[in-house]
Symmetry: C2
Amino acid sequence: MIRSFHPSRSIAATAILLLTAITAWAQESTQVSPPYGFIGAHGEQQRALERRVDAGIESADLDGWLKRLTSAPNHIGSIHNKENADYIASQFRQFGWDTRVETFRVLVAYPDRQKFELLGEHPYAANFTEPAVEGDPDTTQRKDVLPGMEAYSADGDVSAPLIYVNQGLTADYDELARTGLDVKGKIVLVRSSGAGRWVKPRLAEKHGAVGIVIFSDPGEDGYVKGDVYPQGAWRTPRTIQRGTLGIDDTLDARAGARIQAQKKLPGQSIPVVTIGYGDAEVFLRALGGPQVPSRWQGGLPFAYHIGGSGARAHLAVTSDWHWETLYNVIATLRGSDEPDQWVLRGVHHDAWVFGAWDPLAGTTAMLAEAKAIGELYRQGVKPRRTLVFASWDGEELGILGSRAWTDKHADELRRKAVFYLNNDTTSRGFLSAAGAPALARLIGGVAADVRDPETGASVENRLRAKLAVASGEGKGPDPANDLPLSPLGTGSDFVAFTHHLGIPSLHVRYGYDRDGDEQSVPVYHSLYDSYTHYQRFGDPGLKYIDALAKTDARVVLRVANADLLPWRYTDQANVLGKDIDALQAYNRKLGEQARKHNALLDSHAYALAAVSWRGQTEPGRLEDDVPVIDLSALRDAQRRFADSAQAYDRAYASYEDTGTSAGTKTLRRANDALRQVEPALLGEGLSGRPWYRHLLAAPSLKEGYEVSTLPAIRDALDQRKWSDARTAVTRTAQAVEEASRRLAAATDALRPDTR
Amino acid sequence: MIRSFHPSRSIAATAILLLTAITAWAQESTQVSPPYGFIGAHGEQQRALERRVDAGIESADLDGWLKRLTSAPNHIGSIHNKENADYIASQFRQFGWDTRVETFRVLVAYPDRQKFELLGEHPYAANFTEPAVEGDPDTTQRKDVLPGMEAYSADGDVSAPLIYVNQGLTADYDELARTGLDVKGKIVLVRSSGAGRWVKPRLAEKHGAVGIVIFSDPGEDGYVKGDVYPQGAWRTPRTIQRGTLGIDDTLDARAGARIQAQKKLPGQSIPVVTIGYGDAEVFLRALGGPQVPSRWQGGLPFAYHIGGSGARAHLAVTSDWHWETLYNVIATLRGSDEPDQWVLRGVHHDAWVFGAWDPLAGTTAMLAEAKAIGELYRQGVKPRRTLVFASWDGEELGILGSRAWTDKHADELRRKAVFYLNNDTTSRGFLSAAGAPALARLIGGVAADVRDPETGASVENRLRAKLAVASGEGKGPDPANDLPLSPLGTGSDFVAFTHHLGIPSLHVRYGYDRDGDEQSVPVYHSLYDSYTHYQRFGDPGLKYIDALAKTDARVVLRVANADLLPWRYTDQANVLGKDIDALQAYNRKLGEQARKHNALLDSHAYALAAVSWRGQTEPGRLEDDVPVIDLSALRDAQRRFADSAQAYDRAYASYEDTGTSAGTKTLRRANDALRQVEPALLGEGLSGRPWYRHLLAAPSLKEGYEVSTLPAIRDALDQRKWSDARTAVTRTAQAVEEASRRLAAATDALRPDTR
């Protein structure tokens, strides 16, 4: 998993789903209605099938697979990653799946030399290796272990003053400017939190830095969060967070040769390394200059200073830019009724080192599902639609495997792909799901049927309990409504499916940490993400891998076997309405905040409120001439979409009442139309990043936010291109209108008179 | 200064005052209207007088006084504290003031033996002395330096398991209970923040603890805030925060003999010590048991645990309970026109050790005012009302000196006292004032006339700038209105004046820290609160002591010379209206929160959302049958009070227009009536603490809050005495009605036909 931002997210932002009433929480779920999308007796048949799948998931298998898959380093180019691909393929074949390994060549850059040294009277050199930890035999391995590093760092060798700039985000550079300091010609030291790491070198370079060092602060995933490994789950002083600077389309295969020739990614020319907080402490303590603003203070036990004068450092990186082979394992079970409708499900198998949390727990779940489903297939219980399971390679270097594969098969996927389910990291805890809003009822229904290993309640009831406690309202969201899903941003293999191809996609995991954050992997991207760590702190007994496999299997089999695809567009229409409101508020705020800021400048308030002996100066002026873009065309489109969705819901209910007698032809017409709805929401690509085509959600352009809703319009606002914003409103509205029309075609198909 | 709670307060809670328009901030203040309370030419005469006082304040004096006063330890019973009292008295005499030293005998308990030791394999003993610091010669002194300790600790000698309970507040004990642990028979270790320290031993005892250790966490005033002394201002690992457990009326002279016999304060029977974070680290690291909830984690560099099993400690305290003499210096300048109207102004002179920040910077300001005013007096420029300046003793042990003096002179004060101005700690920064709401215009007008040393703007304009920046609104509060004052809680010598006697009181200081908190004294109650520390970090050059003296002198001289006492009751009526709204909201919330909490219990949400492997259990049930008390009588009274205040404002304006011709008799009648308004707001004393009589504000009964507004009603709500709450509404309303009638008498006096 490539984490795109800081693990501390609000509970509200990690939304999800559910169904039953609050008073039923602690009771056994007694689901009577059929799963969404199933008509009449098909619902009970499906549930019976799911119980048989559950019975086929064996705990001994899970442990064996996880242990084997994590037994050696698994980065691209490592021996064991290739072995895993072969092993996964052999397992799929053994389970009866039609399996192939598709290979791709990709450009890779790992450093073969890294130096980060404090110069001066008390020289010190950072350490890029992680020591073995007592009680975890895997951590004694050295063979094939990548050092702590940032893949695709530009080569460089600089000696320069060192300066601390908090998280290295735009707001931090603005705040730095108020102290009269800048990073020009300096090496910046930044915390790993707040935004995707790939953002930081580019911003540093834009501000004139000659090098950048990213460190893990103990306030974020070290001792401030909990005991450190091996006593507890969290980062030791020498735990290093590896990562990639290759993201989005920078590593497009066509660009590879040019990038290799230049030995640098576009916009990323300075050397980058990553270090643990034990090393960071030495460098931070050496910094002089003013004390940091309070929000820049981290968890190390001294007052942080900005530096910029005094302490100098030497930073050097040279990398080996070369081509490696990716091994994507693709396994298929042909559908009985609709072989050309593909229900896809994937998780990557490459890792930074052993990768127990990230991603092999997820891979283990997939193997369990594949075995159980394969066994039924052998017994003649076949999915109606074709299942395509994928074990992706190269995710950690920039989501390379799934992108290369979807690129190669794009035309076929446009014709055949119905749905994509993704896993990545997972651990014990609460269900967490993100995806296309129309999938809320599907995952909610599944969650009601899967039992939580810790409490024995359904995972949906447990999640609802958490939301109720967090709400402060004495109850959770209305049980009559599907809980909305979080939108999909970036950071795992769903990106090509949802953002480029417009295939309805879902990303599912289990997890939590002490603060209720489901996204947290305490030793993320380090040597210590091992089998032993996972069994002690990730998911003792692997009971949640078991629960994840049961969840995943239900999701894919419900999509595969549904009479009517389980998309519910009233949920999507509701989400869109809220997204439009949020966009309008954002637009107004852009102007208002700038005007307020400038009013304070005009009245000299910043100057008077500043503390001169801390070197504070006035901030700069903001452009405050921000028009409020007219969104009425989009609102009209949303209303029509909502009407269309309600009409479909009525048609669905009425069809359900009359039973399955109408037959296959009606269902096929309706399903064909349903499949066309989500692709209608693709545009020609976002400005400056044409590969991202979904008009309702995209990774945010701004640092610190994972997802941007209505991104074509929002990007234009952020870039202050008002005319482009108006055009984007028109285009987005047109796409929504088209989606309404396609949905209406599904409704038409279900009408008694047209069946 | 006895700090009653944690230094991190919101800016909003540290409110204040001001007058002129936002656009005038950076410009020279060109005040044209006379100071509030002065008619016609008297205003300009007053301003001319103030300029002469300013000229009499000499910077060399300030430095000499501060250096001398802080040259040795100054606690009650120390040699130098007595010397300071004598010196201050001699200075007042030299300045021409009629001066006497009034002595009182008070019960004192300092420990003569303290032990806090970790038992077991790695024994360790806490250190109660603070080492000398390079560059600060005072810190080498040992003679007469009190150890780190809590005065009035009960004697005790216990060996018991050690347990960490965060800040030791009720919410912490509730949270502890959810882990299945308790403090019965244990020694509790708590952070010093969150509430007055005297609260913590009583709560610990109530929950069954046999001892308590209070420590300074570096997250609150150590390295997390800034560099530690001597590199920076903040607490070192061995900086200890002394304090007193004697607060409120526990040390009433009449109770002294009984307390001495028992060697313990009421409700406080367990031994208590205080330690620095260097020692705390050793004990905290030794704790086993579950990891703490995340909000309990502090700034030390490891994951805190609760303990409760495993680590045991030995805690022993024996104190010498004996009687000491307090020396209050009382200096008077007889008023020319109204000698029996007293304008009082005080600051204490005792300190925990040297006491540069707390309180001798304030004492230095008072000496400067006294000298300048005395010089004018000698030249025949006499205040119209009598000035009474007081240098209090024994504040740190429980506000003993001012309480004893006001107790002795209560009858005379009821007849003569017009006003009380208090200082305590002060440093460079923003003006900060708290007090009776009717004084907002007085301090606002003064603030407009005093120049800020750092920016050259008026201190009022600088404060307004800060509030504007903090507001996020692009501007501060409406410049047409007086900014409301914070209400007075506890923690300094104003308590008897405002809460017991109902004398309009004002508490003034300057200050800030990195987070904009005006209350912060970085080395609060430690050895390092020294002259050197103050000159380096408190107020280099003592320019803000100079500004404070100019502020104070204006305040007392404006009250002393005003034609009409500068109380503005429309401000008080507005504050009361808001306080009633807040009380009503509080009342509703009490019930709503309990009902929401119980709904979560009923639906098993807490149980399902709990993380069982962290040992979390369900919380207990809350009493949710909370009636909404009818406040309409109080609202009616507030409306009449507002009407009465507006009528007075109109009469004042009309009187101002017609000039001073009406003469002394009219003014005396009006002033006599004005003086009766605030005392009308006293009741018979709050339930369970009869010494507190003010019905509109009192120190809060609840931990973590400094001030409670409408305390008679609020106390009853907190104690769930609904019938008492209704009675308190009636009594508070009657007091407000009486205040309205008295204010109407002042209005009557000013009416042309009655003059």
